[in-house]
Structure formats: C-alpha cells, structure tokens
Subunit: 455 residues, 2 copies
C-alpha cells in the first residue's frame, strides 16, 4: 500500500457509551458558580436552559454514560467515521512521520457537531421541548442543530455571528434547507442584541454575544430551551465517540499515536478526539502528547487568564473557571469563525492547568497554506477551523523530518470547507490578512473579569 489508507470500522464498533473524563481526573475541575450568590450551581439553576438529562450528564462523574439506542441509530448514518493514514501527504512532505487523521466531515452537516446536536435534540424532545435556540459562529454548529431539529420535529432558531453571517450566506441557506431560522447577531430580537446595536450599528458580533441572545430567548420562553455547540461538559462528552473510534482504528492500523492534535475554539472536537486517549493514559496506559491548536487572533489557551468568567458577553450565564480573554473581548473577524470564542471549555482549561496538554497558536494565512497543501495531497478541503489542526500536524511532521525521527501523529479533521470557499478565494486572491487584536482591548477585557473570591 503506497496510497492513502482508510481504516473503517463496521457498525458493531459504534460506541455504546460516551466516555466521561471526569471519572479519571486526578483532581476534580473547579465548580461552576452562580453569579449572584457565588455558590456552586445546582441542577435546578440550569433547568430553565437545559433538560434534566443533559444537566445530569453535565455534572456526572460516571466513566461510561450509555448512548440511547435511538441516538446510536442516527449516528449509524455516518458513524463510525473513517480514519485515514495520509500516505500521500507524508510523501509530499518527505517526512518519516506517520500521519493519521480522523475525518468528521462525513456527517450530513459536514463536521463533528452532529455528534452532540443529535443527542441534545433527542433529550430535549424527550422532555417535551418545542423549540431550541442557539448561537453559531462559522455555521457548523447551527447547521448541525438544524439537521438534528429536522429529525426530531423541533423548531430551531440560530443566532449567527454577523461577520460569519455576511461571509457565509450558504451556511444560512443550509440551515434554512433543514427548516431552521437564522438571524444575524447582534440582532434587534433581544435586549442584549439591541443594546450592542445601539452602541455600534455595524457590530461584527461574536460567539459570546450570540450566546447572550440565545440564552435570553430560552430563559424567557417556557417551551424553548438553549443548546450549546461546545464548551460544556456534556457537549465534550458526546464528542468522545470520535476518540473511542479512533482508538479502535489505530489498533486496526497496529499503531498508537505519539502526538494527538486538534483545533480548539470552545474545545469540543479537541476533547472528542483526545479525552479517550488521555483517559487511557490516566488509567496507566501509554503517555501521549496532546496539542491544542488555536488561532493567534483569539488565543484563549496561550494568552488568556485562567479565571472565573461568564460564557457570554452580556453576563447571563453561570461563571466557569476557564482560560479566557475576557467575556467582553470581541475577537477580530478572521475566517475560522468557529474558533472566535473568548473562552475555553472548563475541562480543557483544567487539564491544561494540570499540565496534561500543550497549546500552540497559529496565524490564519499559515493555516490556509497548510489546508491547501492537504487538499492537493488528500483530496479533502478542510474547514478553516480544521486547517489549524492540519497546520499543527504538518509542523509536527516537519519536526520529525528535521530530527530524522518517525513519530505517529493523529489529528482530527473536524469538518470540510465546502461552505467556506470564499475564504479560499480570498487566500488565493491575496486578500487574506493575518489579523491582530489590539493588546489594549485584551487588557481592558481582562480587567473587567468578574471578581470571585476563592471558594
């Protein structure tokens, strides 16, 4: 075999459980706090936003959480997803490294996001919810929830960050094709949106703002719940089907990763691939380097502060301890809209603090260059977010080449870029810039972090 190799599991290998990293952590993650009382939140505090099944998953410390059979039936449409060995890319790079990638773009919505959209829609439907409301950046999450909503007959409303809404009209078209409604955020439909538009009518929006709008709508309507596409424990949990399958597929290949790489925005595709491997390590298995790759224009893990902060811009959510650029920080409008979030998943932040993972940040032009190299070798055009993982993997492979060492690299190709071709056109047309945030803006946002006394 000299060509790209596919490792495909049959359906009997579709995981029966989600893997919960909380069961294996040497130190528990800090509690989530109520911003009014500064006391840990209980399940009832979250009940206006989420159905109880998801809340219980959010706080569970059980290692194996059963995947409901109806969810597994939907997963079967595209899962187990393929794992590829990128022989053509290895050859092009002339690297002694072995490069594997798990490909999540095979889902109907084109990314890993349906792995959590489907169970979230399922549990909400079970709880009698009529409508789900959410935010989206690049649109991968919004279109995934729209897809899941169509399956379960739930209305879906998506607040889409304005800069992405304008850049990617076809993502909106996809959501509408699935029957969802999509509005640009900040919008006039919420108090938090109107307040921002009053300050700045051409506000580019951010994930934090769109979350505020969605949470506001959910909190005010009894038949409506909120759904989040990343960050929260239960979202990361649902993504662990990715890493569990990858472990079985690496086994098929007779190999095991020395380094695992994924991009990080809120942290869910990263956690999905990495947590099962990390759990195995924590239970005495082989040590593996785990590298989170983030955008230099929104570098929460590499430049943020580890502190309690709001998940949204208006301060409507509970406080979580995480790496944050400050919930009032508005990241510049670069192309990987799915990574434009001020914070990082509390669980991912926690294991970063424990020294269990590394993080690195790259500029967007270098990521698109890596993505084009990958596309010409492997045939798959990555999403701009996934290009960060590709860049990380190529950097590791070239390090292997420089050192004359063969290491096994595994990365998560979290989605395809079919709805992001304007970004590629901009790249080829020389219109893409490496966008910097202003250090003063970051300092201002960090100065506004909520004051939380040690619990």
């Amino acid at each position: 075999m000299t060509d790209t190799v596919k490792y495909l599991l049959d359906e009997t290998h579709l995981p029966k459980y989600w893997y919960n990293l909380a069961a294996d952590l040497p130190v528990a993650a800090p509690p989530v706090l109520h911003p009014g009382t500064m006391q840990p939140v209980g399940p009832n505090d979250l009940a206006p936003l989420f159905p109880m099944d998801l809340i219980l998953q959010e706080v569970s410390t059980e290692r194996d959480i059963p995947i409901p059979e109806p969810v597994r039936e939907v997963y079967r449409q595209w899962r187990p997803s393929p794992l590829f060995r990128a022989r053509r890319l290895e050859k092009l790079l002339q690297t002694p490294a072995k490069i594997y990638y798990k490909y999540e773009g095979v889902s109907p919505a084109g990314s890993h996001k349906p792995n959590t959209a489907v169970p979230q829609a399922f549990y909400n439907k079970q709880a009698g919810v009529k409508r789900l409301v959410t935010e989206t950046g690049a649109g991968q999450w919004g279109s995934s929830l729209a897809f899941a909503g169509a399956l379960y007959g739930l209305e879906v409303k998506v607040f889409m960050v304005r800069v992405s809404y304008d850049q990617k009209p076809y993502r909106r078209a996809l959501m509408e094709t699935y029957g969802a409604t999509c509005v640009a955020s900040p919008s006039n439909e919420t108090q938090s949106g109107r307040a921002l538009l009053a300050q700045r009518p051409d506000h580019p929006g951010s994930l934090g703002i769109a979350i505020s709008e969605a949470v506001e709508v959910a909190a005010q309507n009894d038949d409506t719940k909120y759904a989040l596409g990343s960050v929260l424990n239960h979202v990361l949990l649902h993504q662990t089907v990715v890493g569990q399958e990858a472990m079985a597929q690496m086994d098929m290949a007779g190999d095991y990763p020395d380094v695992i790489i994924a991009c990080t925005g809120g942290g869910s595709n990263f956690a999905g691939l990495a947590f099962p491997f990390l759990g195995a390590q924590l239970r005495g298995g082989k040590k593996v380097r785990i590298v989170a790759v983030e955008p230099a224009a929104c570098p929460s893990l590499t430049r943020g502060t580890y502190a309690y902060d709001f998940g949204d811009t208006a301060g409507l959510t509970p406080l979580t301890k995480m790496h944050t650029l400050g919930s009032t920080f508005i990241p510049p409008g670069f192309h990987a809209g799915g990574l434009r979030y001020h914070g990082m998943a509390p669980l991912v932040s926690h294991i970063k603090e424990l020294g269990l993972i590394e993080a690195v940040a790259y500029e967007q032009i270098a990521c698109f260059e890596a993505g084009v190299t990958f596309a010409r070798a492997e045939g798959i055009v990555p999403a701009p977010e996934s290009n960060h993982a590709v860049k990380g993997a190529i950097a590791e492979a070239l390090k292997c080449k420089a050192e004359g060492k063969s290491r096994t690299i595994l990365f998560n190709l979290s989605g395809h870029g079919h709805f992001d071709m304007q970004a590629y056109l901009d790249y080829f047309g020389g219109k893409l810039k490496d966008i910097q945030y202003a250090e003063a803006d970051l300092a201002t946002a960090l100065a506004k972090l909520p004051q939380v006394k040690a619990a």
Copy 2:
C-alpha cells in the same frame, strides 16, 4: 430498526473489474462515424484526444475490464460508498414502498465523477501526458478532474459553462484549491469560443460549446489530452463500480429493486447504477424497471431525435448516434448545470431504443421541492442534478402509496449540493422559475442535424 439504515461493504467488496454492458447487449450499438468520411472511426482517429488504453476501453466488448490496482487504491479512500434505506423519508411520505439510495457524495469532490476522473488521469499519466483539458457544467466534473490531476501531478485546465461559472464561484474555488485553472466558456482562448463571443458577448455557454473549446486545445497540443466526464462508453464503464456495489448491498439488505432511478445529463451516473442490474437481467436475471429522469428544459431522451450528431457545438468531435436536441441547441440556463447537454450517451440512447429503459422529464421547481423534502428527512442536501432522481423516486413512492403496493425503489444520489446553495436560496426566495426552451429553437437545431446516410 426504525431509522435510516446504512449498508456498508468492507473494502474486500471493492470491485476488481468494471462491467461492460456491450458484452451483454442483444444488438450492438451503432458505430461512431468520422464526420469527413462517414466511415466508422478507428482507434487511431481518436489518438489525438485520448490515450490508447482509454480508446481500447471505448471499443471493447469484453464483459469484465480489470481495474488497475493503483486506481483501486485511490477508490478505497471513499469506496465502497454507502447504500442507505431511507426509512425517515418513507415514514414522511407514508408510503408502503421501500426506498434505497446509493450515495456518491462521499467522494472528495462530492459526486460520482471521481470514479472516472481517477482512472482517466491514471491512464493519461501512464501515457506520458502532461496536461488534461476538459469542460464542466455545474462544476462537479471539473472539480473531480482537478482532484485526480492533483493526485497524479497532471496540469488540469477546465472550460466552465459561463452560466454555471457565474452562478457557482465556489466550484471554481474548489478547482483552484486542487491546483487546476478554470475559465468561463465561451472564452477568448479558442477559435470556437471567439466565434461565439463575436456573435454574442454575453453568451451563457453550454456543455457542447465548452467541449468544443477543450477538444480544440487538446487537438492543438501534443502534450495535452482531452477528458470527458460523461457520454462516452469508457466513462460509463468506469461508473459501473456504483451499480456493482449496490447489487452487493441490496443483497446485504435481503432485497432487490423493482425500479431503479437516476438523473440523466450525459448519462454516466445513470449508467453506473443501472448497467450492472441491466446486465444481470439480460443474462437471465430478474427484470427491473429502469427510469432515467431528465430536466424538462433539456429533455434529450423524451423530446430529442435518435440520430447521428456531433458531441459538441462546433462540430469537432466524431458523430455518434444518440438522442439529441441538436448540437447547436443551447439549453436555457436552469440550475442543474450538469444536465444541460444537448445529447445523451450513445449506449443509454441505444438501450432506450431497445425498450430496455424508460425516461421522464421534470421541471426544476418540483425537483428542488423534492430535494428539500429529502434533506429534511435524510439530512443530506442533494445536488440540483441529483434532485431529479429524488423527484423520480418520490413520484414512484407516492404511486406505490396510491396503489397500496409495496415496491422496492433504488436511486442514485449522485452528489451533494454544498456548492449549489445559491440555487436553494433562489428556491426559498421564490426566484426560481421553471424555464422553457423555445420550440422554434429546438426545431431549428434539429433541422441542422448532420445528414448521414444509412451505413
């Protein structure tokens, strides 16, 4: 199982041979004629355009043509492709019919076209060719050849029909991401293009014109060959991996189709699915209804004449006997650009004349309506071309419902619509029209058919 069911073959079921229908035909198809001599063309007549391996496949009557192992290695990246039973769609339609679909959108370029692009690039590379030149309508073929060219280090130049070039800038972006160059046709780069632009500077183009431009460039350059994405025998041959896999998958499902449905532009996705089933029938197997679905705005099988005609508009190709609207007929600019071709594959035309298949034509709005219904049920957004097959399948399923009969329907979902979302936006925005051609234009084009005396 109440949900959509996937039938996935492991790689040991990847076909080792392409299936050649010519071996099983009760009557041979009429010969291809040289337009100068009106005598059957020989292999050498085609040598300026194609490498000899492909020419020999074009004229072969062997039943099983071996697939080169390096081509099978590339196929393995996405083949065997999945077959689904559309349980969610069946439920939505409340039909007693069983609906299966073979999904070819899993290929890197998003359609069935890489099934032939890869072997065409392979054989050209083997023959020492440096550059491939081709035409594309909606862009599925152009991006597939661009993908295949990238794998083999071949330069690829694509003449893209102007109406599609303008409608689908992201298809061009995809071709460029793979490293190909793409120009709008008619262009100023060829004699045939310049002649048309002189008559009408805003000429919308057609597949026939783009073929003329590509053939002209190939004929004038020694290191350059021409590649065609449909119509020819060897192209249809390469697509038979689809039907062979589908036969094995229907067997997995313990079922066999009563009716097979696919859309027809040049005829290749249709032939790919149908020919292996038809071959089995011709060798004494079960009879199956086979339905070709074409656009009402370009209805070669249902409104065309069965006659010798050119494959291109400028009259640069040999003459083939086929159902044609006349090679000078310019179809109106509807959204399924891959179906905007004046003729039909000679083999498909021949079996239509033999009464072995049926044909039906639908307007585009009805096809988009079917596509949206399908997307909301099955999660996959079909290409506008594939929507014709979806429409055909839904029509058959509703007929089953009306008759209270359960029949097994199998259709080819030839590609996804991720690069066609403008068409969906137009549909939702009420901007899509059912476009008619002028009967006078059709009559004029048919009157210009070349005069060929009986051989």
